[in-house]
């Protein structure tokens, strides 16, 4: 097992940031750690990395207890922190070289690795730039390069794509999957469910310092009652009686705003046909119809009773 965390408890004064947090990470996977702001993702990562003291629990990496001077373990880890961690006084190139140099002392190897990291995040045109002159998104990319230049086997990324434009974000996500294909295990922390859905082989959903659900994207969605969201555009909704819709089998809720009817259905067959039959019987004309599969937000909503993003 690559990472094994058991019953981790971390308090900041009276606040319990991690409340018996358990996590197992297998080699080769991309694990998504998904949770709203303040759920304890960063705290968990910092404890695992032995940066933070914790009150209770055990943390093992590569089947060895993780400590601040477990250099053999640390050598294999690359971290992209939530806060941009670079020196303003150094150029883009120098920053990557410095942080890579903390792991790799051979000059030639380092030169090659730094060049690869620069290509990876697409900062080739900015090598000699001072970080002060980079935009927020470019800075984030530099932050990523500094964390992964030494080609670590385990890469931990804490919300690396905040403030990065969609185009570059996709490039970064693609890059992360490529690193994974090359053999790196990835822990990816975010509060964007789209990102974890896109790249993660396994997802852990966190809330209030605990992991409340864990599994593949499909497994998580299987766990909950709600199936799809059916959206119907009604041209003459005056004739509609909402209570009659919710009375249909497998319907969880129905909502009408203007001409838009949104029906949340449970897992059952022929739900859409039943709705269409009802609308036909009422002589309601239908414009567009589309249906969405359940999202991780639904999973979160159903377990915690609140939305992932407010």
């Amino acid at each position: 097992m690559l990472i094994n965390v058991k019953n981790l408890v971390k308090r900041y004064g009276d606040l319990i940031a991690l409340d018996h947090f358990n996590l197992e990470v297998q080699e080769g996977e991309i694990l998504g750690l998904l949770g709203p702001n303040g759920s304890g993702k960063t705290t968990a990562i910092n404890c695992i990395l032995s940066l933070l003291k914790y009150d209770k629990g055990t943390i093992e990496l590569y089947d060895q207890p993780m400590t601040p001077d477990a250099y053999d373990i640390k050598r294999n880890i690359g971290v992209v922190m939530q806060n941009v961690a670079i020196f303003d006084e150094l150029t883009v190139y120098e920053n990557i070289d410095y942080f890579c140099g903390l792991y790799i002392s051979d000059k030639h190897t380092r030169k090659k690795l730094v060049a690869e990291a620069i290509a990876f995040v697409g900062l080739g045109d900015f090598k000699k730039f001072s970080p002060k002159k980079l935009s927020g998104g470019l800075l984030r990319r530099l932050n990523i390069a500094c964390g992964i230049a030494h080609k670590p086997k385990l890469i931990i990324l804490d919300e690396p794509t905040v403030a990065v434009d969609p185009q570059s974000r996709n490039n970064i996500l693609e890059g992360i999957m490529e690193l994974n294909r090359q053999g790196a295990t990835i822990i990816y922390t975010t509060h964007y469910m789209e990102e974890v859905e896109q790249i993660c082989s396994r997802i852990a959903i966190m809330d209030k310092g605990k992991i409340i659900a864990m599994g593949t994207n499909e497994e998580l969605k299987q766990m909950i009652k709600s199936g799809e969201h059916i959206n119907l555009e009604l041209l003459n909704p005056e004739h509609l009686e909402l209570s009659e819709i919710t009375a249909l089998p497998h319907i969880i809720s129905a909502e009408l705003t203007d001409h838009q009817l949104v029906v949340k259905s449970g897992r059952g067959k022929n739900t859409l046909i039943a709705i269409l039959d009802y609308l036909k019987g009422r002589n309601i004309t239908i414009g567009k119809i589309y249906s969405e599969p359940p999202t991780l937000n639904d999973v979160f909503l159903e377990i915690t009773g609140k939305a992932l993003r407010d």
Binding site: S50, D69, F87, L90, F99, G101, L102
Partner: protein, 375 residues
């Protein structure tokens, strides 16, 4: 690792414009300002000499060593041998700065406090043998000196065989520059703060990155501190060259000792800043604020704004002088410049070493904690 980090730290320090301004340009500007301000007060041939009257009596005749010493210091003192009555009259008229008389103990009579009186005291101080005492009599307003000068003298029992002033003539203006150099040494604290902030995970994001790396933090820290001290030394050497070469202020001819003082002063400054940064768990702004306030206070007490302050501290609360690194730095320059003996000098240097050790130890114990309660 050591050299790798050292080189990058040098780069980071040199590229930090604000830091370079305060630790490098600012002292040079201040030196230039001092020079402009003093240009009217003293011209180079108007070096102050200390006028003393030595009372001619039997006891003096029994101490030929003293006569030899004081006449040997002829570029420091203008000596007149007079009777006691004549001496009193001269002192009354402010023709002389003080009277030295054997009675049969060594007596120092002054009627005011100031730099020249300090010089006399310092001279006697160094002359005094372990069993001798100096009695100081203040003629006009005895309250102004109280017992400070007495305590200072009798508590120190330096045993010196040969006392003679160094080659250079004393110039009170030089004291301001000494204090300025002391301040510059202590401004090394800015560098110390910078280096500690850069490697502490709870003080900066880059610090967290360094803590994640498979490198010994102490190695990184020592290499960083060395980089800071190197920059500091370079800056001080340029400042010294500027003051002596461009402004024409002489520091005497003992360059090695002066460099040693600067080195120890820088180390004290850098470790002071590091200690401050490690201990005070507040923002970087507050750390810098405290650093500036304490450095300025120390420089002020060491006589950067007025030499009288230094004298006052020396006479009223001598212990404060020993606890003030800035004062130790000016004192060691002072010792080099005014006396040929190195007793006082090495006392100061040793005390500076002590401060460096103290600050480093405290910093080490804070840095040694490898995990943080909060980031």
């Amino acid at each position: 690792m050591f050299l790798f980090n050292y080189r990058y730290r040098l780069k980071c320090i040199f590229k930090d414009r604000q830091l370079m301004f305060w630790t490098f340009l600012f002292p040079i500007l201040l030196a230039t300002l001092f020079n402009l301000a003093f240009a009217n007060i003293t011209s180079s041939d108007n070096f102050i000499k200390v006028n003393v009257a030595v009372v001619q009596n039997e006891a003096l005749d029994q101490n030929p060593a003293f006569t030899q010493a004081i006449t040997g210091a002829d570029d420091l003192f203008v000596v007149q041998n007079t009777t006691r009555a004549e001496a009193d009259a001269l002192l009354q008229d402010n023709q002389i700065d003080g009277i030295i008389t054997f009675d049969p103990d060594l007596n120092m009579v002054v009627n005011q406090s100031g730099l020249n009186q300090t010089i006399i005291r310092g001279f006697l101080d160094d002359y005094v043998q372990s069993n001798a005492t100096i009695v100081t009599v203040v003629t006009e307003n005895p309250g102004s000196l109280e017992n400070g000068i007495l305590n200072g003298i009798s508590s120190r029992s330096e045993y010196l065989t040969a006392v003679s002033a160094s080659q250079s003539a004393p110039d009170p203006i030089v004291n301001y520059f000494y204090a300025l150099i002391a301040m510059t040494c202590l401004y090394g604290g800015f560098l110390g703060v910078k280096e500690v902030v850069a490697i502490q995970a709870d003080l900066s994001a880059v610090g967290a990155r360094i803590n994640l790396a498979p490198t010994n933090k102490l190695t990184v820290f020592i290499s960083s501190m060395l980089a800071a001290t190197s920059v500091q030394m370079l800056e001080l050497m340029i400042l010294l060259t500027f003051i002596s070469g461009v402004l024409g202020i002489s520091f005497g001819d003992q360059f090695g000792y002066i460099a040693l003082t600067c080195l120890l002063g820088s180390l004290t400054g850098v470790t002071f800043g590091a200690c401050l940064a490690a201990v005070i768990k507040k923002g970087e702004g507050i750390k810098i604020g405290i650093l500036i306030a304490s450095t300025m206070t120390m420089s002020f007490l060491a006589g950067m704004m007025s030499t009288d302050i230094k004298y006052l501290v020396m006479t009223k609360v001598p212990i404060l002088g020993y606890l003030n690194p800035a004062n130790l730095i000016t004192d060691s320059f002072y010792a080099l410049y005014y006396y040929n003996t190195h007793t006082q000098f090495f006392t100061d240097i040793l005390l500076l070493c002590g401060f460096t050790l103290l600050f480093s130890t405290i910093t080490y114990f804070v840095l040694r904690r490898q995990k943080y309660a909060s980031l």
